[in-house]
Every structure is written in structure tokens, then in C-alpha cells.
Assembly symmetry: C2
Homo-oligomer: 499 residues x 2
């Protein structure tokens, strides 16, 4: 066996272990009965440990290093070059972490992951403070091992959006904030539509049928797609030919599942559309969360909240949901573009969502750069809510305790959501330059042309291009919030008669 | 580590591999999109090979043998004694099979498994003859390795129903045939009920809801149970706390899914009710297919086709299926007890089903004992259909090609179905002796008393008792078809006014 063949064999074992693990996670969330979850977790721990052992073994690392040596490396094709380069860098980081610290790290994060839901449920900030402090310290220590030469918060951001820095985010978030806060003030001073039109009972199997129709309409290859129900919607894949989304249906609120389907559908299209030549390599994993979110949010917001998305399919929507028979596309559009200052990020509209993210980003920055103390976080949270959204949480649960991200150490993740939207503004500009107005394409029922453009320019490359490289290739310019601001202003000025 | 601890560690790895494999099979049938099936099969092959390698390794076998040595063995508890004894016997059989023959065997069986659905679809017996001949030869050769001292057909039967012999089956099947053929003749000479009452459209999500209700009513612990849709209904489990059934819904035929749910529910109750002390040992696998079928068929036929099963729950049935509002329990009962001579085993009623099995058993016996040639099988099939059911298939597809069992080498399996029913006659007799008339218990809505009796007397033991041992313990007498005949005669004489 050649060196490459030996490596491929080892690598394929890891692929199968990950398949089992991903499927078990899917099963845990979608199907496994409650009484089975403990044993399922045990099995997942086994496969996760096996996978960790094999991927950090000397045997595997030595094969990677041997293939990374100049002479061997030159003989590899581009797909394998990307794979080996990425593996080598990741393994080096991982192998710098002492085993005993890794154990301590996992234990610390587990403790705050367990403390968080209880604290949220009981509105009990005090019980969560200590675990959160420990998690922050553990995360800092971990980054010193994995990325000793980088500023701590830059290295956290880099985990989720390679090449992105705090400096760039500061610039674009400030740019956005300056324009968005007054825009939201203007919009929320206007009357909002009558929500009671949309609280009728709609059986969940019909909602499921509508959601399937929507993702197929968006361009999903239904032959490589599956859909199920879970508590919280998510996207996952076993491989490029098996991409899955979940949804959560509410019998008296069909709007939320519709937009979950379009959002997760956007993630799923990205994953389905990656070139098959990257299958089973690092190129096929979408590692840049800002870029990933840009695709889900492009479908959810830029397209899904455009009235022209709905006009050509309204007859089909009424066939599936006859309960909508007295609702016009215009009324529906008003409803899905309502804007309100509210407490919970995941329930927020397209505009105020951005401010929820900015708040979290600024707090993270204060923790890791400003040296803010965990004790001060609730006050800081409430002050910023007042400043950005003019409201004050009445409890920790609807304030600082609402998100799980910090409990599992995912500091640096939040900015990805908003970076995704900022990219979307730029992608929209570039797309319209190349295809003409999105309004017209959607009105003609040609959404698949848009999906094809995204595949051609973004999806097919998987993670072989960082977000910065994609922006450079697709938009030819530096990151800026201006296109997003101009898209927001156009849509909401018209809808709310701001002129 | 003690010897036992070492063994448990190895054994637990096999448990996890089997969990992954069972879940992948579940996923293949329930959720995985078509485009993903090839890669899923590859992953299944990997885990199946790993599992085979580990379970047949010298390391594992030596641990089993060391624990089976008298001094060590005596120190084990009863659960582990059963486990080690069974493993040792199975491993010895398996290890007598030369590796190169095993490969040939798998290849031969694969070829007929692939040939069968095509042949069935195209009504093409000729293309299937050769693969079937090869499979029969491979099965014979395999049995010579695994069970060199047994009569070939006995050893095939023993695979699925340990301790059962051809001689016993001959005796009880003849006993049954003699009475059943004239009974069916009498019943089918009477008018059958009007089927058109039951062809209304009923949405599949409501059928699903009804089926969940039924298995819960039967006593399923819904906290350790899951249900999904597949092409063909089946029961599976990841472990004792995760038992799952599938169903196939027909929008214009609700009767079939109802009885699939009750049938698979019977299998599932057996698996759920095994004592937890056997978890992760051979005692927790139900290896006796006749005994397993006896439980599914007891619920499906003895209980499910009894009008008193339906009377107490009819109001709830009408709530879920308002389309039944003009149907009485009596009309429903007539429909589910219709008797017709028909071509397809899986669609057959409770009475003629037995004759379908006898036909297959007699043909298998002729192949392995009588030396019948594959070339003669279609004629033999049609002759027996005429003799037992007075009808003749118009094609191979609705005749000899209808079942998949022979294509994958499962000779000896068919008798299990009917043995199950014969056991049921005996279990019914014993149960009524102990609990009083089943009619009364069902009419009072007390079906869970019946399930508890089955758990107490049969289920809890898993496969630590063979079917013969269960019959001895529960009924205290030798296998006989008489109780089944008497139950059939009573039910159908009343329904069809045969007196």
C-alpha cells in the first residue's frame, strides 16, 4: 500500500465512526424514546472516544505528517492538499493540549452545560455564576495551548470564522449600529399589523407538507434530503448525499416553522451543493459559521421575507393550507416583516435580531479584552438592552440566561450570525449585478436561478475558501455593512411608509 | 482486571457496534433518503465486518473459553452462565466454518437475494432457478460445518426454533391440516361480509395515532418505545429500553395497518418485557422465532380478532377515526374475521394463513429430505395450492416467487409462523385456566391483565428458556394442535353459523 492508501484507509474508519455518531445524535433528537437516552448517550460516548483516540493517535498523525512532507505533498491533488493541510494544522493544535488539562476542560464545560438549563428554568443567576467563571477561565487556558500567539478573543472568533478579527467586526458592527438603531426606532413608532389573523389551528402534518414543499421549491434535491421534528430546529448531514433538517411545529403558529424550514433549508442547500470531489475530506465540512449563517439567512430573510417569494407559490400554499384562504400575500408579507423590540434573540425579527447579536458581541469583547467580571454581566446586559432596544428584561431567564452558547464555552460564535447577514447584503448586491433584480426573479418563480448562482459562486467550494476569500471572489471588495443597511432601509421604508 | 471484567469490556464494544448497526438499519428503512443508501450500506458493511472480526477473534473466544472452564464458570451468576454457554456454542459453530467457504457462502446468498426481487417483478422463474439452486447447496454445505451431526432439515429448523424437530412439526401440522382444510371449506362456502364499508379514505397521520393508541392500550411502555413508517412492517430494538416497530399505511385500507400494529406490538411487548437483568447478554435476544411469533400472533389474532378487544375502546376509536362513525363493532368484527382462499401469504386471514405455511414447510421438507429438484418446485407449489386452498396461481410472482425467505437462505424459518399459532392455542388454554375467560377480561377493558400474565409466564425470561421449556413450564404438556383447532372452530362456527 502506498502512503496515501494507508492514510485513506485510516481516514475512512474515522468517516464511519463519525457517521455512527452523527446518526446517533440525529436519533437522540428525533426518535429515541426518553427511556433509551441514557444508553444511547453511553454508545455516543464510546464512538466519540474511539474517534478522538484514532484521530489523535500517533499512527494517524504520522501519516498526515508524512503526506505533508514537501515531496509527497506535491504529488497530491488539490482536494487532498487542502485536506492534509487542514488536518495537520488542527492536529497540531489539538496535540499541544496536555491530556490532563483536556479532561479538566471537558469536566468544567460539562458542569456549566448542566448548570445552565436549571439556572434558566429557576431564574437563578447566582447558581450559574461560578460555573460560568470556570468555563471562561478554561476557555482562556485552552486558547493559550491551541493558539498561543493570537489575541485571545481573535482566536475565539477565528474558531468559528477563520481569518475574521475583532478589529474588523468592531468596524462593521459599529457601522451597522449607527444606522440600525434609528431605523428600528422609526419602524417601531409605526403601527404593527394585526397578528390575530395568524393564530388559527393548523395540523402539524400539513405544516410538515408545506415545509417540504418550500425547501423543494428552493432547489433542494429531495433524493438526498430528509426532514424530521425536534425540540429545536437544526441541520446536519451524514455526507453530501444525506443532508437533513429538523423543525418544530406549533399548532397555533405556522409562521415560526415556515421560517425555520427556509432557514435550515438554506444551510442544507449549502451542504448539498458542495462539490462531490470534496466528499469525505475537510473541504466538505462547512467550518465557517458566518458563511454558513449567510446562506441560511439569505434564504430566510433576503428571499423568504420578500413578497415576491410568495406570490408565484401562493396558490400552492393555499392548496396545502386552506386555512389561509382569506389571507392575501400582502397580509402575509406584513406579518412576516413585523418589527418589535423584544427580549428573546431567537424570536426576534430581521432588524432587531442584529441588535441582539451586537449586544452579545460587545459583552464577550468586554469579558475577554476589557476584563469585565462575570458578576457585572447582568447589569451590563440590561444596560445594553435599554440602549439598543429600549426595553429591560424582567428576569435573568429572559435576559442574560436565555442562550446556551456561553454555557458550553462557545464564546466567539455569536458574531457569526450577524456577519452572515452582513455578507448577505454584499452577496445580494453582487447577485443583482449579475442576474438583475431579485424581485423580478422571485416574481417569475425562478428562485432556482438564485440557488444555482449561490451554488456556482459559494456552495460548491465547501470550506476550501474562507469567508474572506469568498467575499473577495464574489464581491471583489472589503467587508462592509453598507449593502445590508441599504437593503434594510429599502424594504422597511416602503413597508412602513417612512418617507 | 479480573477475567470477567476483561470479558465484559470486550463484550461491551460488541454491544456498541451492534447498536450502531441496528440504528443504521432502522435509518435505512425509515429515514435515509434514496440517494444516501449506497454510502449508508458501506458504513453498515464496515460495522458489520468490525463486529464479525471482534466476535470471532481469538482474543474474544479465549476469554469466553476461560470463563467456560469449570472453576471460573461456577463463580458466574445465572445470567452470565447462560450468556457464556450460548456464546461458546455459537462461536464453536462459527469457528468451524472455513473463512474461504464463508466468503463463497455470502457471495452465493447475495446473488440470489439480488436475483429474487427482479424475478418476482418480471414473473421470471427461469432467471431465479440457478441462484436458488446454488443457495440451497451453500446452505447444505454450511450446515455440515456448523451442525455436522444433525439431519440437515432438523438443523435448519433448530436455527430458528431451538430444540424443534421435523418429526414434531410433521405430527402437529398433520393434526392441524386434517381439521383445518374442511373447516375452511365450510367457512368459505358461506357469504362473506361487505368489504366496501372499509375502503374510505383515512389520512395516514390519523392511522398513525390510532396505532399508537392501540399498542399503548395493549400495555406498551411508551417511554421505551418508538414507531415509524416503512415499506414492510417490522420490530427491532437497540436494547431493552428502546424497542421500535414500523408500519405501512394505506390511505384506503386501514385494516392492514391496524393489524400490523397489533402484530408488531406483540413482538415489541415481548422484547420490552424481558427482565433487565439479562440486558446486553444473550438472554435478552429473542432467538426462538416460533416463540416470538406466538406473541405477535396472540395479540394479532387471539386478542385482536376478538370482538371484545374492540368493544371497550370503540368510543376512543371513533374519536380518532370519525370516518368509522356508522360502523358498529359487530360490523368491524365481521370484516376482520373474513376468510378467503387467496394467493398471498402475507395478506391471508387467520385460518388460511396456516395452510400457506404448511405448503411452504412441505416443500422445504421435500427439498432437504425428499431430494426434490428446484426445477419441480413451481408444479409442486401449484399442486399444493390446489389441494389446500383450491386455487391456482396465474403467475410465478403470485406463486412460488412471492416470499423473500428462500432467496436469503432462510430455509427452516417458515414453520415458526405456524408453530407460533399452535403455541397460542395452548397458551390460551393455560391462560384461561388461570385468569378465566379471555372474552370477559377483554370486555372489561382489562387487556393489561393478559399482558401481565404473558410477561410473568413468558416474556420476562427472554431466550433463557426454549419454546419447549416454556410450553412445559406454562402448559405442562406436549405440543399439540388441538387447542388451536378448538379455538378456531369455536370462533368461526359462531361467526359463520356452522352449527
Amino acid at each position: 500500500m502506498t502512503l496515501l492508501e494507508q492514510f485513506r484507509q485510516k481516514d475512512q474508519e474515522l468517516v464511519y465512526l463519525r457517521h455512527a455518531l452523527t446518526l446517533m445524535h440525529w436519533d437522540l433528537e428525533t426518535t429515541a424514546p426518553d427511556g433509551a437516552k441514557e444508553k444511547l448517550s453511553d454508545a455516543m460516548t464510546f464512538f466519540s472516544t474511539e474517534s478522538f483516540k484514532k484521530s489523535t493517535s500517533d499512527e494517524y498523525y504520522n501519516l498526515v505528517c508524512a503526506l505533508a512532507a514537501p515531496e509527497e505533498f506535491e504529488r497530491l491533488d488539490d482536494v487532498m492538499k487542502f485536506h492534509i493541510r487542514k488536518l495537520k494544522r488542527d492536529l497540531e493544535k489539538m496535540r499541544r493540549v496536555p491530556a490532563d488539562f483536556y479532561e479538566e476542560y471537558v469536566r468544567t464545560l460539562n458542569a456549566s452545560t448542566i448548570a445552565w438549563p436549571k439556572a434558566k428554568q429557576n431564574n437563578d443567576w447566582d447558581s450559574y455564576k461560578e460555573p460560568l467563571k470556570n468555563t471562561i477561565e478554561a476557555v482562556k487556558k485552552m486558547q493559550k495551548y491551541t493558539d498561543p500567539d493570537k489575541e485571545i478573543y481573535d482566536s475565539l472568533i477565528d474558531q468559528y470564522e477563520e481569518g475574521m478579527t475583532c478589529e474588523t467586526i468592531d468596524r462593521v458592527f459599529e457601522e451597522l449600529k449607527k444606522e440600525l438603531v434609528p431605523l428600528v426606532e422609526k419602524v417601531t413608532s409605526k403601527p404593527q399589523p394585526d397578528h390575530s389573523l395568524f393564530t388559527m389551528y393548523i395540523p402539524t402534518h400539513k405544516q410538515d407538507e408545506l415545509c417540504r414543499f418550500l425547501v423543494e421549491y428552493m432547489g433542494m434535491d429531495m433524493n438526498r434530503f430528509a426532514q424530521a421534528q425536534t425540540e429545536h430546529p437544526f441541520t446536519t448531514n451524514m455526507n453530501l448525499d444525506d443532508v437533513r433538517i429538523t423543525n418544530h411545529y406549533h399548532e397555533n403558529n405556522i409562521i415560526a416553522p415556515i421560517f425555520s424550514a427556509i432557514h435550515e433549508g438554506g444551510h442544507a442547500l449549502f451542504e448539498q451543493n458542495i462539490d462531490h470531489k470534496y466528499e469525505f475530506t475537510e473541504g466538505a465540512n462547512v467550518n465557517y459559521m458566518g458563511l454558513h449563517e449567510s446562506q441560511s439567512r439569505f434564504f430566510e430573510n433576503v428571499l423568504g421575507r420578500n413578497i415576491n417569494f410568495w406570490k408565484p407559490i401562493w396558490p400552492r400554499v393555499l392548496e396545502i393550507i386552506p386555512e389561509f384562504k382569506d389571507i392575501t400575500p400582502q397580509q402575509f408579507h406584513r406579518e412576516i416583516c413585523r418589527v418589535e423590540n423584544s427580549m428573546i434573540r431567537t424570536d426576534a425579527d430581521e432588524l432587531t435580531y442584529c441588535l441582539h447579536v451586537i449586544l452579545r458581541y460587545e459583552i464577550e469583547r468586554d469579558i475577554f479584552i476589557g476584563g469585565a467580571s462575570v458578576d457585572d454581566l447582568p447589569d451590563m446586559w440590561n444596560r445594553k438592552m435599554k440602549e439598543l432596544l429600549h426595553i429591560t428584561p424582567e428576569s435573568y431567564s429572559e435576559g442574560i440566561l436565555q442562550d446556551m452558547h456561553w454555557s458550553d464555552g462557545s464564546f466567539g460564535y455569536f458574531p457569526s450570525y450577524l456577519l452572515g447577514s452582513i455578507y448577505d447584503g454584499m452577496f445580494l448586491e453582487a447577485m443583482e449585478k449579475s442576474l438583475g433584480p431579485v424581485d423580478d426573479i422571485l416574481a417569475a418563480g425562478d428562485i432556482k436561478k438564485i440557488t444555482a448562482w449561490l451554488k456556482e459562486n459559494i456552495h460548491q467550494y465547501g470550506s476550501t475558501r474562507t469567508s474572506n476569500q469568498v467575499l473577495e471572489a464574489v464581491c471583489g471588495k472589503e467587508l462592509s455593512a453598507k449593502p445590508l443597511i441599504s437593503y434594510f432601509t429599502k424594504r422597511y421604508s416602503t413597508l412602513y411608509n417612512l418617507h
